[in-house]
Symmetry: D4
Subunit: 248 residues, 8 copies
């Protein structure tokens, strides 16, 4: 029920055009959530102050173009994640104002200027985890956060992490992306007192089982400042980091 | 190396009692981390501004008493989690100033006065999830946070959650505890824009597999404001909620 | 918002005590679902025309007594499932009008008289599956359905099932309870044209994995008239059978 | 044994051409089920009043053409499911009277006119689940049922479902198709009192494990009006919905 | 339909008391399998020339006594497997002619005299696998086979097996019982040309997963003369060994 | 050590050319198994009276040609299994006397004439299981056994199996190949008294998990005359059937 | 064949008492491995220079007493692992010269004096892993190795490990025992250049799955100097450490 | 902090240019590990006396070329593992002094001359395991070890292994590579007293589950001289063998 219809209903009732019984009935029957639709939802952009996000993998070029056309019309910023370069290229042909970040496979309308001095750290264990790490970093940046990247800081070279303790400690929160054995979030969680968002990746082989091994490692972390998101979900980690950095 | 020994070393060096080569050698040989021990650690209480936490399950009464004696001596607050009432009773006999919360199975020295008006919401799906939910709630409270509990709000009675949207929305963050199908965090994550910390519990039967079902549901949540901790890890969720509410 | 408060609000508005802007604001802020609470929910008994169901396992005697006291006050029929005899006995001491069915471990206030001639078939594979089968049968009966039980009809003695084809075919729907290899629902689904609700049980050993083996067998059934519920969920199967027999 | 042979046997016996001992022996030796073959089986079409169904995936074009030729000869309607468009095109070249529905990947001879006003609701969570949802919807329609589609109604935008409660409640039954976390069937099962047939899909990534996550979510659903079919089994859900809507 | 009723039916038909149409109808309606019941079934003892087998685990003493009473009445030999000594003792009090074998946990009426010189070998890897090995050996013996036991012949002491090659080679078939890593069947299958029936046991710890490890080892055996039965299923292996030794 | 060398050694010793100490030493040092090599091993063909078997999948054409060249030189029959037609064609170009069976993907030198009237039954559940079933059938035939094929006899059309009971019962043993739910071996094991070798296949989708579902079904079979081989291992089943049919 | 019998055989042959044909036959028939039995086997004590090891769990007191009696007779040292104190006490009553170590649950005849200055490090992550760590330490010591224990050195307090780097680096090899997330072996493997033997333990809860989580972490370790033994297998790690420290 | 900066700091302090408080502060703030960086790490080559290792799979040609350029500049030997021939060829075009070993898929700068007479045995079960076996062998050789290869020595032809016992026994340690059932390491561990490093491979089908079956077999090995590395991790096994052969 749009506000206008509600106003008319109330006016009619006040004028005596409809009885109290009738108006109560109507209020009951009408899809009640409509009343609050502006607040509760419906647009993720409104709810989170966040651009619309489209999971790019598996969508056709024409599907993506249609979605983008619609979003541009309502002037909303947006992100398409997990988008192959070849697909992005074809979309940019039609929408040349879009920007594509191949390292993180994200297509977006614009990156916000970082709004403040505080920053989020994104740490990754190996070069192979780079893509997921970049997905997280870019998500943070597009949302207007400053990011410090500490890449290729695996446990096999632990000193590289220990060198960075003060950078980590001074951040607002830390996203740690790791495949293989997935021990890095536990180690960082044990070294610094910041919230750590752990992202397992499917990088590895053998008993890695496409990311199950690092996922379990992270869920069982002995450091109580570690929470976990889905395997390869760099976007989710970036979004959550943004949320706790800006909205609390 | 404690500060005192370092001071003496430097003084000796200045006085010429030891050579530069010697002091560099000693700085190298000495367990280097000692230098910074006050900062980096070593005591979780210092690191996080947080009481020491002892995982109570599987520890003997005498082990627990000894740990508590030591902690009381250094005047640190502490929490013992997953502690059966029968064990707690025996410990309290010796330390009558301790407080035991049977619903959340936590033994502690004192609960902080809530420091601020902002609050954390703890939601649980079923009565069976109560223990884990209380572990989370009490952890938050012991750390000095105000908590609003919304218990027994399962999806089977969805309206109970929808009724509470504004309470949830006004909180700093939401902890959602759920066993069985574990759908509640996704539902709440879809309704409010707050960070949601999802805690799967091992409550359920059959294809629940001791919490694997809700764990997977939560990791796959379509709501990007949801992160996950280990099965039954109410303490971890409470700690993380405290961290993002107070330290960012 | 209860109806009374809504009425008052509307009256106040009509009288001019509150402005239109104000009443719209209030309608927005008030927990909107309250308006419709009678319809949407809130009581499973109203929603499904079904007695309240309490999962008995893991609840204490005092918890159960309190719940029963409350339910008896509102005159609602109810079922407590998965309830051990020893616990049931203690409850009946206080509420001697309750009836306990030890084979299906269900405690209830009353069993409805079967309302019609049409019946539901409950088939079980082995004597060990009896408890789950009885949980299903009693659920159907308590809800007012006629039940024909065909127990101990495992595939190892296939002729026992073939003998009963016409009884199965004439039923409204068939619940098949099976552990071990769980092949019975597929076999019955292949023999008759009735809807088959398959219930895997945790009966078995070795590579049965507490019911995973029959669960997978049933989910992969080649007979398209077979659907599946959770392992040991006799109640769920009985409830669903009641639903499709009476409500469609 | 065809009826004719049985008749001859009985006549011979009556005439005294064969002894009682002999006829009993023959009755024993003859494949006994032949006697009842018309009743018990043998043709799914007869048994369920349902067109023959062919699982299209992995069958060669020539295999499919041969099967279709045979089915057309006996004038039976049929459905080929999970059939790629490229394959369907080649088949239609030979059988131009066939109809192919690319969204649900079904090839059929004809869609029945909906026989009645009552309808089945098919709900899907995300655009990626569309194919399985359409398989379910088309299966229902080909069998002569009216279908109301509610697509892209994921929990992340819960109000979209709440808006449709009355449509769902007035349906005969609801098929809910969902991948990722698979929470939608639980939510709908909690909102309406209709039978809900849940179809997990393999859509998702990471800890989704090709549909295991939503499958477990659905099997553990707290709503007792939810039953489950195999991952991606849109056809099975559609068939079962047809069965309980028309045959009970 | 028992033979008597069939005879009467045929007589009535011959006498003209019932028409041909009528008798055909009756033959159709009657549970057709009854005709052949003596042949097809119904009693495992008849079908396999084998005593009735009762899975003892989880059955109550009174249930077992009743079953035994019934079986003794029809003069059938029988075996109760997986039966604890304490339970067996109570049953023997009532039926003193029964024999209990505690090593294999089998209760039986009588052990057949071995009928022939050919024998079955039962090999076990460790002392812990003894119970399952004995279940297999006793099953063979009760059915009238000669058994040669080679126990505690694990791969860690491979020479113990190599010493026995000629005994194994001269047997009719070999049952190999092994827990832990379950390598023994592969090794024996590689050494001798006899059929090998592999029985994984749940003996082990850690990554043994209650017998999954040896089960997988055996299913993947490179020796083509190895087949597998369920974990701990000593009876099944013994039965199958009897079957291929005597019935082919 | 070949016999000739042993003879020479003994002669030399007898002649006094070497001392007793020396000959004992040599007997110790020499690879002792050589003495018995003719018996124990070494050639699968000798051991089992069976052609050499080569697992074709993943071997290059040149590797296969080399192996075949070697085997032809020693005049041994052989089978290459799981061999794609395209690869087989290239090999036959060089060895035109080889025969390729595309339905079972087996390349062989010659098929033995069936040696006896007794036969092995190979049953398969669906057309998709045909390849594995043919691998089993051809293996039996190449080894000189008569085979009766009963294909496409799934449980959804149970009467098709019941029709064949006497053919099954008169066989030496039955190989049952089934994917999907894998119930067919249990059903056949319950109907006939022959040894049943169950072969799960990876045919299916969703919760089939590439053959795990039918594998578990078969391992948990309630029929004691059922043993199991690895998923898709048609060759293993055929080999074992040959073994128990001919060698016991 | 013992040496004596072989000598006699050769003498008889030389004397002409038996023919060459005969002696060859006998050499073939005799269990050939006997010839080399001293070398190949047969007694683990001889093979590894190691006391006999008995897995204590699940063995009865009388079984254990019998084994010990036999071992004492041959003057062999031995270890019984995983032995509960209550059982050990009863055994020591009869054999008062045995020593029991309750922390590692090992019963032994004597601990060797450490033979050399070089030592093995045994590190454990948490107090709960103590038992398995002690099993490893005691195994090393009983075999005559010097052990340095570094217990309770979890990653949550990483500095505790970093403090010990030089102790670890100077050891011969490092055994790391860890449950929960199992990250410690990776961390230590990254810090020092010694061989690391990782022992996962079943300590943990939730998604730990009785040690699967740390097992996978360790198998996927990025440090190439890490190998893994079975969950809780402290003995195996200690044995292997002894082997590579002393036998290479 | 490089030594030079530390020296300057100490000099300044001695001269009185900075206070004691200041220097302590600086020592605290400076990345403390820098002091010891030469010792602790940082270059795997220094730490282990081992060439740098690059995991080749999934890295682009340009990424690899850049890494190689950098490594050649610092004159370090290196290995690229899991590198396809087509990629290696392109790299060698630019760096013609590199050597590629196609059987083990390793690209390296140079193979060391074997430094000593002692050797490592690398055993593989089947031809399909060759690639992983060669990865292990080449790793050993590149590091300067002598290797004896015993390939294609599966358990199905056990005598082939028994023939080689003395070669195995005289080695420093044994690497055993096996897929399928993975029994070979247990068998060899039972025959010889050398340390055995077991490498499961993903070779197999059906219930092999890409190497899980042999991995579990090996972890559960009854031979205490067996440790395990990740599936297909030939490099890790070779590295560890080198480590225990040369560094202890």
């Amino acid at each position: 029920m749009e506000i206008d219809r509600l106003k008319k209903l109330l006016s009619d009732y006040k004028k005596g055009n409809i009885s109290q019984k009738k108006i109560i009935e109507k209020l009951k029957i009408l899809p009640y959530l409509d009343i609050n639709s502006a607040k509760i939802d419906t647009n993720r952009s409104l709810k989170f102050g966040f651009p619309e996000v489209i999971y790019g993998e598996g969508k056709s070029i024409s599907q993506l173009k249609e979605i983008i056309k619609r979003l541009k019309k309502i002037n909303s910023n947006f992100m398409v994640t997990k988008l192959e370069k070849s697909v992005a290229d074809k979309i940019i042909e039609e929408f040349p104002d879009l920007i594509y970040f191949p390292e993180g496979k994200i297509l977006t309308l614009k990156k916000e200027k970082p709004r403040k001095r505080k920053y989020i750290c994104v740490v990754s264990a190996g070069t192979s985890d780079l893509e997921v790490a970049e997905e997280a970093s870019l998500t943070c940046e597009i949302l207007g956060n400053k990011v410090k990247r500490i890449y290729d800081a695996g446990v096999a070279g632990l000193h590289r992490i220990i060198d960075k303790i003060s950078i980590l400690e001074k951040s607002k929160c830390v996203i740690v992306v790791a495949g293989m054995d997935g021990v890095l979030p536990s180690v960082i969680g044990g070294l610094v007192s910041r919230p750590v968002i752990a992202v397992p990746t499917s990088i590895g082989y053998g008993a890695n089982f496409k990311g199950i091994a690092p996922l379990l490692t992270m869920l069982n972390s002995c450091s109580p400042n570690v929470v976990v998101v889905n395997i390869n979900n760099g976007f989710g980690a970036g979004f959550f980091a943004h949320l706790i950095t800006n909205k609390i």
